[in-house]
């Protein structure tokens, strides 16, 4: 405490804009201190893509990547909810069943009862929100561990799904319905995809530039102009190239755009709003959060409602993509894929660390492995084993980086 510089002198240090080299150095320090974030998984994703491309040249072709994006959207949406729950240091094991129930509600109300499609979707989402509220109340009132509550939910909600489907067992959703076309055939027009890419990059530049200028005016440290410009240009290049490459085939799926928009919105909520700050605070130290005047119970309930609603939305998207809902909707590996995606993406199982982006990165990794192994015509047994190994690896990286933070006094 006595050896560190005074705030006054630090001010002097920080008010000068940082140079680019210092930014790189800061990143290097963060990584060596064990604050890894999404760095290992992005590196891992590149390795995975190169490996599969070498093994099978069709892997990185436009049609395959378009499919990859389509496949990622539904389970990825569920994974966003899982990220929220994990940030609190809790778990939701029932997201798979929840998505299955939402599929069933969509199919039954829309196909059998002839409801308007929007009403069916709202009903499915409302069911999700209600179940999330029930979890939240059970947890905050009785203090039952969420592991147990959602384990009970896994079975109970699956039961409700089978009951909703009734004798039908499997219900097909007509191909000409709006929701199925949205999930299967709607893509951004080429021109629009480029316009959106440019808007996104320009938006990023303007927001960052303004924030930096305000920080500079306030006498606080700001990032160098060149860094902002480089990042924006990089983002633009990636988006334009990605759009162009996907446009060689069918293009950028609207469902994928919806998924990415949800990730962006969740990220904003988590990083910029008071609610998001309280989510991180509760995940980091629930007693501290309570004493700081945060209404902890509301945070728990709101997060569970958000998570199950996102799971329900994922179920709606999955049903639309499949054009059917049946007894195995949301079953099988949906549950664990969604949780694995959040963890692989770098959200800590121990609470308080992670971001909405981990849902996006994590699901792309899992779907890439799945798609790559399918292209190699390997059995699904191998796919499960490989995915299992990757999940284990991700958790090991999480645990090691936690230990590394501890040894650097950052735990």
């Amino acid at each position: 405490m006595s050896t560190t510089p005074t705030p006054a002198s630090s001010d002097a240090d920080f008010s000068a804009p940082r140079r680019l080299g210092e930014s790189c150095q800061a990143l290097r320090h963060r990584i060596s201190d064990g604050d890894l974030g999404s760095t290992p998984v992005v590196a891992g994703l590149i390795v995975i893509w190169i490996t599969f491309q070498v093994l099978n040249p069709t892997f990185l072709t436009a049609p395959n990547l378009v499919n990859l994006a389509l496949q990622s959207a539904a389970v990825g949406t569920i994974a966003i909810g899982v990220v929220l729950v994990l940030l609190l240091g809790q778990i939701d094991l029932s997201v798979g069943s929840m998505s299955g129930l939402a599929s069933a509600i969509l199919a039954v109300t829309f196909v059998q009862w002839q409801w308007p499609v929007m009403l069916s979707i709202i009903a499915a989402l409302a069911a999700g929100a209600a179940i999330g509220a029930a979890y939240g109340l059970l947890f905050t009132r009785f203090g039952v561990p969420t592991f147990i509550i959602t384990l009970a939910g896994l079975l109970g909600v699956l039961g409700v799904q089978l009951w909703v489907l009734g004798d039908a067992g499997s219900i097909n959703i007509p191909f000409d319905s709006w929701i199925v076309r949205f999930a299967q055939q709607m893509f951004l027009p080429d021109a629009l995809s480029y316009v959106l890419s440019m808007t996104a990059a320009a938006g990023y530049f303007v927001v960052t530039y303004r924030a930096n200028r305000r920080r500079g005016e306030a006498g606080l440290g700001s990032k160098p102009m060149t860094e902002t410009a480089l990042r924006s240009t990089g983002l633009l290049a990636v988006l334009i190239f990605g759009s162009w490459y996907l446009n060689k085939d069918r293009g950028v799926a609207l469902m994928f755009v919806l998924f990415v928009t949800l990730v962006l919105c969740t990220n904003y909520m988590l990083k910029r709003t008071k609610w998001g700050r309280s989510v991180y605070a509760v995940g980091g130290n629930v007693d501290a959060a309570r004493r700081a005047g945060i209404r902890v119970n509301r945070v728990y309930i709101s997060v569970f409602v958000a998570a199950t609603t996102l799971a329900a939305l994922g179920g709606v998207l999955a049903a639309a993509r499949l054009a059917a809902a049946n007894q195995s909707s949301g079953g099988g590996d949906t549950n664990l894929t969604a949780i694995a995606a959040a963890v692989i993406g770098g959200t800590s199982l121990f609470g308080g660390r992670g971001s909405a982006w981990s849902a996006l990165v994590g699901i792309v990794v899992i779907m890439s492995i799945s798609s790559g192994l399918t292209l190699l015509s390997l059995d699904s047994s191998v796919r499960y084993m490989v995915t299992g190994a990757v999940v284990l690896l991700a958790v090991i990286i999480d645990a090691i980086s936690r230990r590394s933070r501890a040894s650097h006094g950052l735990a």
């Binding site: 008071k274 700081a292 006094g409």
Partner: protein
């Protein structure tokens, strides 16, 4: 025991407890305790383990409600039923465990629960005010955007004390602020306490450490087995007198040891 109220600065106490008792089932943690805090003074609360120091803190902080007795704020009877009441009255409490979130940075911790900004948080404003706050305390922190986890014990204590000032309180209650600190860091925290007094705040210092108490406190309130057992002005009182009040007798392990040592010396 003094019946005449002792104080250094003003006539009217900011917060005053009169005849406060707190029972947990059959356990009487506090019985009929009187306690005053004046603006611009450091009042130390000392006592042995189980004397009721922590219970007194928790009553002030609104963690426990008093079983009986009255609380006055600037002469008016008030109730402190939960932490929000306590904060609304302008009583800020820094607990021994500091209650910081390790995964959040200094700015986030300082403004936790009272973030600036309507829909989106105003990070620039909060960071500026953080620096202003730390400068006001002449506190030394390397940066305000590092997670709390990377700070030392003394720096964490600094952040916790700085945080108590965010809501512009009139009284700051510090529960064992130096218990886990080294020599240099303890000195820093004592400086911080003096700076709080200079800004006109009433500071309640709970401590086991008589050296710290004698270094910064103006007044010492002694609790023993849940009752008032003496109140002294620090310049007028010796270490032995405080110890005697804490242990309830002039004949105790500490005084006997001192006596034995004195005898030995006289024998030689």
């Amino acid at each position: 025991m003094n019946t005449e109220p002792l104080h250094v600065v003003e006539e009217q106490p900011v917060v005053s407890l009169r005849g406060v008792s707190k029972t947990f089932g059959a356990v009487k943690a506090l019985q009929n305790v009187n306690f005053d805090v004046y603006a611009g003074e450091v009042v130390a609360v000392v006592g042995d383990n189980g004397a009721g120091k922590t219970t007194l803190v928790k009553i002030l902080a609104g963690v426990h409600a008093a079983t009986s007795g009255e609380v006055f704020y600037e002469g008016e009877a008030v109730r402190i039923d939960d932490p929000a009441d306590s904060q609304a009255l302008g009583i800020a409490t820094v607990f021994q465990d500091l209650a910081l979130c390790d995964n959040l940075d200094v700015v986030a911790n300082l403004f936790l629960g009272r973030e600036v900004g309507a829909l989106a948080m105003d990070e620039v404003e909060m960071e500026q005010r953080s620096w202003a706050l730390l400068r006001q305390l002449s506190a030394k922190l390397p940066a305000v955007r590092t997670p709390i986890a990377s700070l030392s014990g003394g720096q964490r204590q600094t952040v916790a004390i700085a945080r108590s000032l965010v809501g512009n309180p009139s009284i700051v209650v510090l529960d064992e602020p130096t218990a886990a600190l080294g020599v240099a860091q303890t000195a820093e925290v004592l400086n911080l306490i003096e700076r709080l007094r200079e800004t006109g705040l009433g500071v309640v210092l709970i401590s086991h450490n008589m050296a710290d108490v004698q270094a910064v406190a103006d007044r010492v309130v002694v609790l023993r087995l849940g009752r008032n057992n003496g109140e002294f002005l620090v310049p007028d009182v010796s270490y032995e007198e405080i110890i005697a009040a804490i242990t309830g007798a002039t004949d105790n392990a500490v005084s006997r040891r001192a006596l034995a040592a004195a005898r030995e010396e006289s024998h030689e």
